[in-house]
Symmetry: C2
């Protein structure tokens, strides 16, 4: 069994403005520690997936930086989609590429910008999922055992019967719930967080794409043909222009009857906002995270990061302060989701230098 | 009658950090409008005091900038104290200088960093005070009719009997009161805000200095002698080194029985903190003051000023945000007084570049 990893790195991450920009979204930032999230994502696969079998699907703006950040991954494996079309086209593209190289190949489809602690447990889970996917004509997704009634994640309900140890058929997918529903989900024991991580053989996902998304399947076969030739880029641009923007969850996972869930018990976070970064950081005795040249007084529960400029904060609570070379953000932690509104505002004002 | 103005401009204004610095304290900043507070202070005297009769007592760090900001005032009139010794030595120095030029001269002693609206009324009050001081061997201070129970100002109680229209003898001086006391003061009708503005003949204040502060009076006579000669600077340094640091209020005003209060009914503010600046600024419908390239969302009652950097503020209330080239301040308006602690911290850390 040969394992391939496809890392989805097309996100623009506007919720991490002003650190994230179009050319340097969340996955390229070192939000935690020294290395970027995509570097950590690749490193985490060490021992399970050979770097030559790692593919990254990204866009033209980010490609060069990713090549630079991942010197061990062949530059040809870092592929820029000509247009962002959500996850289904990205999955189909990666499936035909791996399929052409190795029809038996098992693909781990992984987001570039998630935080995973307990790396051993993560790798064991992936390994078991890959083994199951190799032996079965099935689509496997990792469901994270929920540790709190989180309303920021989608959920997956499993069927009761265990197919193999820790693996169940999926009953249904659920959107982000309200708090009461989330509490019910967590209490039930059969709902798991939708991690957006998928494991399948390339032919298994292609078969399901053929069945549920023929409008994507048929054109993507032309890309399969062109892959590895001079025509690849032109064909990709031509085909992508015609594709609908649609998620793999909606297009296949929620419709197929071959979907399995493997339980993930490792510590996982999709790091969806500055609030998540705050929650995941080490705090001092006042609940503050201070990175850079920072003075605080009577300040609690705050995340304060500056790149250069001495920053003094007095008498505030629960704020995130992010200072970069050209911009400054001050946001209440409870409203961290609204940071994307700043990016929308800047787009409206055509202030490209800040986006 | 010849009127002189002595503008006291020695303050370091650490409560306006990061805009105020040792070399550019509050009085040299254009906190309101286009011109600096000291420029407004001089301009406000137009028609009452000839610019050649304006003196500024400052320190060595600020002198050059003041000369630059006040091109109409003779550079020789802008005098640097060798050491900061509070207001009594400053008053004595100005008294001997004016006295040597014109023993009859009336001196208006004015802080450089106060905001005064109703300029006509202000000038009328000064004019009346100067006239009274010229005719009487007395020390006149302006008491501002209080409009609210302000706890940030000292108060002056007047005696009931009116000596001339709007002029009363002073009963007593009171420190900054607590809120209950301030309410009582305002209700009483005989307490006024201590503006720190004084009007007297040079010989009148010198007589009172001789009586109440001989340790200051005797040495300052040497400065009188040296003024206008080559020896002035050396003598000033030598004498100032020996002087005690003491306020004119404590040294003379609270002890002399020649002190009169003239009522000031003009709009006055000593602009003691960023909170005062907020209160004195025009606000938008959300109670915000935004100066510079600023985006706000769900933000109320805040003062946000940046010099260059685009600033986004989301979901906060009652904060002051000041961004300069090399520093950033975020402070709750209610704790605006504590900004000086940042300067103390920076001094302790010997970070001269930020002070």
């Amino acid at each position: 069994m040969e394992i391939y990893a496809v890392i989805m790195a097309g996100g623009v991450g506007s919720r991490f403005w002003p650190r994230s920009r179009a050319a340097t979204p969340k996955q390229l930032l070192n939000i935690f520690g020294e290395e970027s999230m995509i570097q950590n994502t690749v490193k985490r696969l060490n021992g399970l997936v050979d770097e030559k079998n790692v593919f990254v699907i990204t866009n033209k703006i980010q490609r060069d930086k990713i090549i630079e950040q991942l010197p061990g991954v062949p530059a040809d494996n870092i592929i820029a989609e000509p247009f962002g079309k959500n996850t289904a086209p990205c999955v189909a593209l990666s499936a035909v590429i791996v399929n052409k190289m190795n029809p038996d190949g098992v693909i781990l489809t992984l987001p570039a910008d998630h935080l995973i602690l307990d790396e051993m447990l993560f790798k064991e889970t992936l390994s078991k999922a890959a083994d199951f996917a190799y032996r079965n004509d099935s689509l496997v997704t990792i469901g994270i055992t929920p540790t709190r009634p989180e309303t920021g994640y989608g959920y997956i309900q499993m069927k009761e019967e265990e197919v193999e140890e820790g693996i169940h058929k999926v009953e249904t997918f659920a959107e982000k719930p309200n708090y009461a529903t989330a509490k019910r989900f967590v209490k039930s024991g059969d709902f798991f967080w939708n991690s957006g991580m998928f494991i399948w053989r390339s032919d298994a996902i292609l078969n399901e794409l053929e069945k549920h998304m023929p409008d994507l399947y048929n054109p993507i076969l032309e890309v399969r043909e062109a892959y590895g030739t001079d025509r690849f880029e032109d064909v990709l641009t031509n085909i992508y222009g015609q594709l609908k923007s649609i998620s793999i969850d909606y297009g296949v996972m929620e419709k197929s009857n071959k979907v399995y869930l493997i339980k993930g018990d490792f510590n996982w976070n999709d790091v969806g906002s500055w609030e998540a970064v705050y929650q995941l950081s080490d705090r001092d005795e006042n609940g503050n995270v201070k990175i850079g040249d920072v003075y605080t007084e009577n300040t609690l529960g705050s995340y304060i990061k500056n790149d250069h400029k001495f920053t003094a904060v007095i008498g505030v609570e629960n704020v995130v302060v992010i200072e970069t070379d050209d911009a400054l953000l001050i946001v209440n932690r409870n409203e961290a989701q609204n940071v994307k509104n700043v990016v929308d505002y800047l787009k409206m004002k055509n202030r490209k230098e800040l986006i």
